[in-house]
């Protein structure tokens, strides 16, 4: 039997502490849509996405009302498009545009999967596909792209890393009038996961079932609030508090995921146990770290605090859900977290510290604005560093940086909405072009050979 406190605690979490389900993402396989030419394929893709995801938005809205818990985003992820257009890669844009039209017609905010997996080598059709990314991102609004350039099993494809440095620059330039916003829809991964519900990196893996519902939970504000009740607890006890809170948040996500899957006739995929911040005050991962006793995120101690937070979230969440997956951990996107924005504006957090933090949290260098004149090879080198952290530590890492055209250090760029605003951070002025220019594949680490 429920007691009063339990009911009021849940309501308080929703109304005062920003507890929400961050996204219900439907994964749709596009493999049945491959036709003899690009036009017919694009038509089949549009029809299939519309058919499978037709009920997504109304169903999610009804669930939100009935359970009294906000569900912020409705999204779709699809099979990496490079596989669908392998016979006519130069015309991949037709499929990308069809997906963007479907996203508008469905009323979803993002559709992910304009993607390629090139971690062990770039096939000719994949090279041609990659070249379409800047133009497609500039010409669409809701489509997201991602490219996997490395894995713990296969090493890092430095040729693809170099290419991605160039494509990020080109995407920024093509969307220069909107501060390079195209780059906010482009993620470069190492160890990309096939069931990630979060954007911009979501795609529907080829090992997945036909249509799947993946749910991303959130709730940094709830964790911060719970910690505020025990300001003098030692870190063992603080980790327990985080665990218990993550358990409750995840149980809500699990319930919504199961119910959404049943109503939509899809398979329940996974719950992603991530703490995803927004630019709203009271919804910040950085502020959780500060609640633990740091004067400002970015100071010494930040990596340790984040490691503890990330691990405690996983431990609480795993107990609460029958199937866990995606990225599952704490996100640290700079422009989307008010605590991170403020630390960056006051010069208290650097790219180097952010890189260290990515070795213990669930993703990588995320939503970071850098000077528009940063060379492509420097961006490629940043990607290589992140991929190396992911490869060696058997975890997902990602780079989503925006070289803002015409802007430099000290200026701020405003993306609006959930994408927030970002002060432009300085990058190291040293030159890595010779290293990146060598190309080839960084071999997989010795500890990856487990067979």
């Amino acid at each position: 039997m429920l007691n009063e406190n339990q009911v009021l605690e849940t309501i308080e979490m929703v109304e005062k502490e920003h507890l929400d389900i961050r996204t219900v993402t439907m994964g749709v396989s596009l493999l049945p849509c491959i036709r003899a030419d690009a036009k017919a394929t694009a038509r089949a893709v549009y029809d299939r996405v519309m058919r499978q995801a037709e009920g997504l938005v109304p169903t999610v809205l009804a669930l939100s009302r009935e359970y009294g818990i906000p569900i912020v985003n409705k999204r779709v992820s699809v099979t990496p498009v490079s596989l669908v257009t392998a016979a006519f890669p130069q015309e991949s844009a037709l499929v990308g545009q069809a997906l963007d039209r479907a996203a508008h017609a469905l009323g979803i905010d993002f559709l992910g999967g304009y993607s390629a997996l090139v971690h062990k080598g770039t096939a000719d059709y994949e090279a041609a596909f990659l070249a379409t990314i800047p133009e497609v991102l500039a010409g669409t609004e809701r489509l997201c792209a991602s490219v996997n350039v490395g894995s713990s099993r296969s090493g890092i494809n430095i040729d693809a890393v170099r290419k991605m440095g160039e494509l990020i620059k080109e995407t920024a330039e093509r969307t220069g009038a909107a501060c390079g916003i195209g780059c906010a829809k482009l993620v470069v991964f190492c160890n990309a996961v096939e069931d990630n519900p979060f954007m911009a990196g979501a795609f529907h893996g080829v090992g997945e079932a036909d249509t799947v519902i993946n749910v991303g939970v959130s709730g940094p504000g709830v964790v911060q609030h719970a910690l505020s009740y025990c300001p003098d607890a030692d870190l063992t006890d603080a980790a327990e508090v985080i665990k218990r809170t993550a358990f409750k948040i995840t149980r809500a996500g699990q319930l919504i995921a199961r119910e959404a899957a049943e109503r939509l006739g899809a398979r329940f995929g996974i719950v992603d146990l991530s703490l995803a911040p927004t630019p709203a005050r009271g919804d910040s991962v950085a502020h959780i770290l500060e609640e633990l006793g740091l004067s400002v995120v970015g100071c010494h101690g930040t990596t340790a605090a984040l490691a503890m937070l990330n691990d405690a979230v996983k431990k609480g969440g795993v107990m609460a859900s029958s199937r866990v997956g995606g990225l599952s951990g704490a996100f640290i996107p700079v422009s989307e977290d008010i605590g991170m924005i403020e630390a960056a504006e006051s010069g208290k957090i650097s790219l180097e510290k952010l890189e260290a933090m990515t070795s213990v949290c669930s993703v990588g260098l995320d939503m970071i604005a850098i000077p528009g004149d940063t060379p492509a090879t420097t961006i490629a080198a940043m990607i290589a560093d992140e991929a190396a952290i992911g490869m060696i530590n058997n975890k997902t890492t990602a780079v989503r940086v925006i070289p803002v055209p015409g802007k430099g250090v000290g200026e701020t760029v405003e993306f609006g909405g959930l994408l927030g605003r970002a002060p432009i951070l300085p990058v190291h002025s040293g030159d890595a072009s010779k290293f990146i220019g060598r190309g080839g594949l960084i071999p997989a680490p010795i500890h990856s050979f487990k067979n």
Partner: protein, 89 residues
Amino acid sequence: MRAVVTVTGTDRKGVIASVSGFLAEHGANIEDVSQTILGDQFAMIMMVNIAEGGETFSELCEKIASLGREIGMNIRLQHAAIFDAMHTI
């Protein structure tokens, strides 16, 4: 189905009458009630059982929320499952 009604806001006359009247009209049986007033703040939690077959639960959630707006209180109707999920193993 089991559901939870919560009513919060500044205390005023007739709140319980309006809410219980609405529930009776819509085929919901009140199984348990807990109510407190702290200062001028009113808080009430009701466990209800809603008969199948009438309007959809989603519609009922909307209607009771709009009743709340009419009488100046915050009224929510939610599936009991969300509370069970978050607070019981």
